[in-house]
Structures are given as structure tokens and as C-alpha cells.
Symmetry: D3
Subunit: 212 residues, 6 copies
């Protein structure tokens, strides 16, 4: 038993003086300040395994909406264990004819893996303005480079499910249609900066609740 | 003169063994392989001050086009000295009624400073879908966070000029209209992922040269 | 049609001068030099959508081995499209009683999502030496912070499948048993640095093919 | 109008659970703790467009001083919107014979663009100890790699103005003369570590207010 | 003396508006929140030179323990001045027959320099599973790449001392034996994920104080 | 022996397809292109333990020069194993009255540990222009934040030795005196940008071999 005592000495000399050290991880403390690198860290004593586990992706998202699709995120905002670790995940559910509209993630690249059904996915490159399109089957993987416009569409006759991972705990999500037609972006400016017709802009604002 | 000799010894002991060291900068060598961090570095012996100077922004861009505007970049592709340094710059020229259409930079935040005229600029946030709009006068600065949709419009009665700097030597530029209407993105998919009408899509493809 | 011509001028002024720009992505060119940030980039003209799609995870890994498990990676070494993007993915197959032995990824955090069966997973923190254990069901997600020892075990009566994503295109994989017993690490040093008994070391070297 | 309701569901499923998410930007909250990555973020509800706009660079700096020059910064300390975004900007005013003395930015590379007059600028490389000098005219751009000694001098017969951008929201600024002669750096140590004569050191301490 | 006044104007225009700017360093404030990038910064007015100096490595660690060795860290947890700077240091003391057991640093690469005695050190690569072993004498340096298993053993007849530096202010330290045998990691799972025999596991748990 | 075969299958499925993967380290290949992130990587098959060991710091630097001091670096240029790992080391030798003149490392923070003698060290902060000075004894550690002017002076009656580690494999070294007086920096510009007298500049140019 002397051994235990003596080894403990080594261990203590290494870890004892820590002022709330968080060297292994930084579980989000949603009650403390947020900074450019993420949420503040929960004190280690309060961390449990459930901070590292997220069970919200086990149930299908609700696809009874216009786009017949749902995005269920497990970003740092929902999943405290990924805070500061440069990774996160989300679940996509696409009913038949479902679509995740054209969008970007301002802060991350994305890897998608199909776990059910068939998905037609694509992105557009910026430098050469090339459209990269592919129909993906179960088990297929596609990568969408950071910040580029992309989309996913159910390409088959049955529900599709995919998991999408991101190179950030906080990838962000900007859907082009929401940015243009679901807020108070003045129609005149929308039209001027997109060349869309006034009627088109007003129609989609009507659908998406935009004003201005 | 002994001093020179002796000090030279110190200096040599520090720098002599270098195998083409590039510790200060990495001027782009456009003939060598490119990697995720940028272009390969020119051998130091071939570097001159002109690699660090770019004179292409001294002349107005040609605004005799549909958008009455021009973007003249000094990114690592044009300006070898910024390679690997995490910064670059471009010039915006906007004739009266000129517009830089809605676009994103996938890899950088942007700071704009107006040096002539008046510019109305804006961006849309992703998390809260808020439109941030401002009319900027000479000397005013605006920041556009990385990866978010934004635009610039000449807000006055005369030509406007601005310089825009980026937090990357290679920020990229993706104009929404070009991504949708100036390539072979199938119209059916454009419509499905943007909710735009078929007539609108085809009209803009006509203007911008898109097919499919 | 004048429009096309005029707009094309804008577009050209932006993208024409590029010396093989890779601003959107950097698909791995396996024939060119590798650097600390990853593989060199394929020339854009040679890039196709298949560089961004990986189909190797659609088939089960072969679990007819000692550990009744398989890891099938889609890292930058196999999947050129993720090169430089800070993300990658792999598939885990665990037959009944299958186990992914204790291991670390030196260069990435990991997010695991169960897509079939039940997995008992765990990791050990460094600062406080706490074991975080959880039994995960279909759809559950767990995060393993970078560089920490962790493992996955089939916790049920049927085959389990999971996808694991990494915050690096090249996370690495170091299985403790392989590092100790499947190479020429001298037994005397293994014993001295792990406190394992000589008989134990030699037995496992026998199983795993180690020498010394 | 059902559409609005249904789409709103998607939008809510994406953004509703956020605990004050700041995924798009992190406007500085000067009343909260600061960390290595920058200031804490203002709560999104309190952010306005004015956080992203800085108007302080529209007026000339006061050049009625010894160096006949002024540096007016828009760093994260003055301009909350750039916090965490890896970019910032400043304005240089140089009256005739004005000079920005030899200095370094410890945390950023710099890109300078001349908007009025003529500026003679230079930097010294570390590895090869080469002086890179250039006379820059209106519209010319020069890059100064991170951490290297550099300077700007009015090279003409009239006032010069430039904007300088940085690859950090907080580049820092260390003017060699201020570091040596404008604080309590003991003269003996200044002389020992720079080889400057005692008389020279004391003279400049007199000018710049140094003691010791 | 007008000079002082005038120059002071320049200096003030640069630094006066700072809201507690920390542009040069971020000395740890152990009483404020911690984030993914490290501790919050002490207010500059409270910083003294002693925050940048650590005297705890001047005395030998206590090697009167089982492993006849000691690790004395100067990480951000002990040494506030390194917070956020991406570097830290520790002292190794190895009595005759002393050993730093097989371990990893999850967050950093390490450089070791021997300052007294002889040390036999090694690490195991992940990709190729190669053991790199070397006997190091006074003044010799060895680098251990991030996240890989490694160890140090006194290779001589007298006490050895080394300093080890890390590419992080918070490298972490995970000793394999402690992770397996000095906590409540269930023996059944230890055995299943390491192939070690039950007797071996229980023996080492006895020595190191593990339960389960 | 079946075990070996079966386990080998797992191992192969993980590592076999590698196209010269470098996931663990990137030993510098001095014959291949260099990029912003460092040297290209040697092919793994050619890597030996000696790439990770540097023996050049075991011998004292030659201090028979003007400054009675020597800096012996083990940066990526000399020590291929640290390439891309964000760390490096150097040895300082200071004879009695020896001095490492005022200098900066453009790309790294530094940690110094005294292993023999006494060293008086200091740095000057940029934001507040404060001089931080300390006399360090054997075993004492001091950190110098990135990019700030600093120096080391032998503070005792006997030779001093220190090891300095850096948060970069390629920290760079710019000695103020060399930058000003040991190249062709025109004296007129030196004087204009430093306020030094012409006689002082010419005197030091004479000592250090500068022209212009």
C-alpha cells in the first residue's frame, strides 16, 4: 500500500495545483460569458457523462412543413460537450420530395453520410462557378467545403435520413431564402442586389413572412 | 574592424545553416505545388520588393457593365507577397447606381473603408436572420463577418470607391446570382432549392448565360 | 445578350488572373509533395464531383477477426476531397461482442453517432482521471475530446454500426495494444514504462505479432 | 399563410434552442471578461448595425506633433464589431515630412493602401536582414509580414493618407523609440542591449520623456 | 519639452481609448471564467513581472516514489504568464532507475532537452506503428509529436534532469497506467478493451488504487 | 497464430491504403517545396529516430565575439523533426558581460529556462509600454510574449546558459541593431525613422558592417 501512497505523490505533483483546469475539454456553461472561441467552461466538478452525450438526434425531425424536411442540430448551443472542440453534428430528415434549401455554413466544412434512402446533393464552387452534383445512396459520403452554397434533396421514393458533421462546434446556417424573404430586408434592395423581379420577391416574402 | 568579424560570427551561427528558410514570409511561387495553406514559397534569393507591392489597385475598375461596378482583387493569386499571411485587399468601384450583388466570401471576414462617395452596405446574420444596413460616407468603415451574405450599393449621385480587406490571403467570392444563373445548375434544381419561379430562373439564366 | 457580355467582364475581372487558384477547396493530389497542412492540391481542371464523394463506407467492414470489429476510414488519405478542410469520417462495425480497443486520435476530437444497435463507449479524462461511460442507442451521439484514451464496445445482442467524424482530415489512430505489442518495442522497456508483467507482455506480443 | 407557419417550424427547429448563440459574430462586450481570443460577446439582442460600423477614420488624425503624423486605429478596443474576426484597420495621416517611426505589430501582418499623396515605406526581413523599400503612390498597396520592423514616411510635397489593415482584430503596435526611450527602461540596459551611446540614449529619453 | 507633449499626443491617440486592452499578453485571472482558448486575462494594471516568471522549476521534484521520478509542470494552471501564448514548460527529475511511464499529451507536441545525466526516450508512431528510441545525453534534444504515446527512462547511473517544452499553454498529461488502473474503470471493460488478463489488471489496480 | 492474421486484417484496413500518409508528423524534406505551413514532409519510409533528435545544443556556442554570447538554434531549418509541430528550441550561451541584444521573434512566444548562472532578462509591452525586468537564477523560467522586444544579459560573474523554447517551429529572430546597422538601410531613413543622430548611426554601421 506504500506504492499507492508514493504514486499518488507523483500524481498530485502533476495535477493538484490546478485552478479549475480544463485541459481536456471545455463543457459549455450557458450561464457564463461567451467569447470568440466559444462558451465559458463548466467547472470540472459539475461535468458528467451526459454533457458528452446528445440524445436528441435519435428521433426523426418533423417534416410536416413546406419543405418536407427538418434539420436537427447538435451544435454547441444544444450539445455542451462539443464546445471548443471544433466539431459538431446534425440530423437531416427528408420526406419524399423533401428539400434542404440552398444554404451556407459560414464557419465550417460539412461531411454528410446517408443512413437511409437516397439524397441528391450539390454545391457550387466559387472560383470556377462549377456545380458539383451527386445522387447519394445509403452509406455514401459527400463533403461540402466551407462557406459554399449547397443543398440536399430527397432523390427517392421514400424518406431519407442523413447525418452531417461540421468542422466547428458552431458552424452556423444561413438559408438563402430566409435571408432574402423572411425578414425586413427592403424589397428594393433585395431586387437591386439579386436582379430578381419585384413580383417574385413579393411572392416569396408572402410565403416566408418577410416584410419591407 | 575586428568587431565586424566577431559579430558576423554570431549572425552566421544564427542564420547560416538555413535550407532556404522562409521564416519571415512566403512569397507565392506560382510554378510550384499549392497546398491547403497556400502557394509554395519562392526561394528567398529571388524575392524582391515588388513581390510585396501591388500596383493594380491604383486604376479604376471598368464599370461599363450591367452592374455598373467592378471588383479588383489583390488576393494571393494576383499579389504573391500576401501568400500565407492571412490578409488581402481589393478595390471596389461603383458608378452611379452601381451594385456589388449579394455575395459571400467563404474564407474570410471583410473590412470596408469608403474612400470616395457614398455606399449603402448590408449583411444578413445567420442565427437571428437580422438585416444590418448602413449608409457609409467617406472614411466610414464597416465589417462583414465571415461567410455571411452581404452587398454594397452606390448610395449617392457620384462614383464611389472603397477598399475592402480580408482576413485571408484567399477569401474567395461567391455571388449568389452567378452561382444560380451563370452555369449549368439545372433549372429544376435551382427552383426546388430556392422556391423561385421557373420563369424567373429562366429569365436570369438568359441574362447571365446559364444553361440547364 | 449585351448583358451577358457586360456581366462577363465583371466575372472575368474577378477570376481570370488566377494561377491555378484553389480558394474553395484543395482536393488531394497524391502524386505531389505533402506538407504539414496536408496534401498538395489537384489542379482545379482535373477535379470532379467524385473527388468530393466517398462510397467506401456503404459496405460493412469485415468483422471476422479477433476483435470482431472493423474501422473503415474516409480520411484524407482515402478521400481526397476532405484534404485541408478539417473534417473526416469513418465507419465502425461491431459484431456481437465486438470491440474497438482502447485508442487515441492524436490530431482530432471525435463525434460518434450510432446508426444500428447499441454501443457502450467511454473515455478517460486526463486532468482528473475520470472515466466517462455511456451505453448509446440508435441515434445517440457522443463526443470524445481530442487526444484522450477511449473505446467502443458492442453493448447488445446484434451487430452495431456507427459513424465517427473527426475535427481533422487526418485524425490519426493509435491503438494502445498495437503500440505496445505489435511492433519491436523491447519487452523490457514496455514493462518498465507500463508496470505490466513480463508474462503478460510476452503473451500479448505473441498474439499481436510483436517482437523484442 | 399555412406556408409561413410550416416553414417557421423548420426555422424554429434550427434556431430556437440557442442559449445566446453567437455563431455569426462576437461583438465586444467591454464590461465582461477578456480572454486570449478576445473580448466576451455582447448578447445578440443588444447588437445593432452601429457595432459593425466605425466612423472615427473619416476625420484626419492630428499631425501637429513631432513626427508630423498620426495613427488612428479601429482595432477591437475601439471597434467592437471586429472582435474575434481576425481583421482590423487604421488610418495613417502624414503631413509633409511626416513619419511613422520604426515599429512592429506583434500579432498581425499589415496591408497598406495609399489613398492620398506619396508614401515611402519599408520593412526589414529577419532571416536575411534585407531592407525592402518602395515609394508608393495613390492606389498602391504594400504588405508588411507579421512581426517585422517597418516604417512609413511621407515621400512627397503634400499630405499623405493611407489605410492599413491587419490580420488580427488586435495587432498591437510597438514603436522602437517608445519602447527604448519613453518609459523607465534603465539607460544602462538600453545601452548594453542596443550598443547606443549613453549621450544618445539620454538625449532621446529627454525628448520622449523616458527616465532611468 | 514641447516635444514630449506633442509625441505624447501620438501615443495617446493610439492607446488611450483601450477598454482594458490585452493585445500583448493575457495573464491568467484564476478568479474569472475559463474558455476554450484559456483563462480570462488579468486587468493590465494588476500585471507584474512575477506573472511572467516561474521559480518552481528551480528545485528538484521529489523522486522518492514508486517510479523514482517527478514531473513538475509550469503550465497555465501554475504559470499565469503563459496563458494563451501556446507554450509551456515542465521539469523532469529521474533518479537512478526512474521512469516517466508511457503517456500522451492530448494537446501539444513536446521538445525535451537533457540538462543532467542520460535519458532513454521513445515514442511510437500511429500510422506505421514504429518505435523511435534514443539514448540522450546532456544537451541532446528530442521532439515527441503531438498526441503520440511516449516515455522517458533514466538511462544512466546517476540522477537525470530534463526540461520539456510544449506547443500549448495547457498540454495535458494522460499516463496510460493511471487511466487504466488508478480510477474506477470497470475491470471487465479494461480487460475487454486492452486484452490484458484479469489478474494483471487487478494486480495493477491494487498497486495504483483503482477500483471496479 | 490465427490471431495475428485476423488482427492484422484490422490493422491493414486502417492503414494500408495510405498514399504516403503523414498523420503523425511531417519531418522536413529540405529538397522539396516549402509552403506557408513549413517544409514538405519526408516520405515515412525514410524517417529515422535521428530526425527527431538534435545533438547540436550539447556543445557551448562560441562566445568569443563582441557580444560575448551565442544563440544556437534548433529550428525547423536545422532540426527536421520539429517541422509543422509548432515548437522549437535554442541554446543561449552568455559569457561574463555577455548580452543577447534587443530583439524580437516575429512568429512565436518564448519560454526561457536558466540552466547555469544568472541572467537578467526583460521585455517591453506594447499596449502600455511597460518594461518587465527580472534577474533569473538557475531553474527560473521566464516567458516573453510573441513579437515583443526583449533581451537577455548575463547578470553574474560566471558563464550563463539557458534553453529557450518557442511556440513555432520557425520563430524567426530579428535583432534591432542588425536590422538598422548591418545592411544597406539608408542612413537618412534610419535616422528619420528612429530619431537617432547621424553620428550614432554611422558609428554603429561602422561596427556592424552596414552601408548606405
Amino acid at each position: 500500500m506504500l506504492y499507492i501512497f508514493l504514486l499518488a505523490l507523483l500524481f498530485l505533483s502533476i495535477s493538484s495545483l490546478s485552478h479549475g483546469s480544463v485541459q481536456d475539454f471545455c463543457v459549455a456553461d450557458y450561464t457564463a460569458p461567451v467569447g470568440p472561441a466559444g462558451y465559458s467552461c463548466k467547472k470540472p466538478a459539475g461535468v458528467t457523462v451526459d454533457d458528452f452525450v446528445y440524445t436528441g438526434l435519435g428521433v426523426p425531425g418533423d417534416t410536416s412543413n413546406l419543405i418536407k424536411a427538418a434539420v436537427t442540430p447538435a451544435f454547441d448551443t444544444q450539445f455542451p460537450g462539443v464546445n471548443g472542440l471544433g466539431i459538431s453534428i446534425a440530423r437531416l430528415d427528408l420526406a419524399v420530395d423533401g428539400v434542404i434549401p440552398l444554404h451556407i455554413h459560414p464557419g465550417a466544412s460539412e461531411v454528410l453520410v446517408v443512413v437511409e434512402g437516397t439524397i441528391c446533393a450539390g454545391f457550387i464552387s466559387a472560383a470556377a462557378n462549377v456545380v458539383y452534383l451527386k445522387t447519394l445512396n445509403k452509406g455514401d459520403v459527400m463533403v461540402f467545403p466551407q462557406g459554399l452554397l449547397h443543398f440536399q434533396v430527397n432523390g427517392g421514393e421514400s424518406t431519407s435520413i442523413a447525418f452531417v458533421s461540421f468542422s466547428s462546434a458552431n458552424p452556423g446556417l444561413q438559408i438563402v431564402d430566409f435571408a432574402l424573404f423572411a425578414n425586413d430586408f427592403p424589397s428594393e434592395l433585395v431586387e437591386k442586389t439579386t436582379f430578381l423581379d419585384d413580383a417574385q420577391v413579393k411572392k416569396l416574402k408572402g410565403v416566408l413572412g418577410g416584410t419591407g
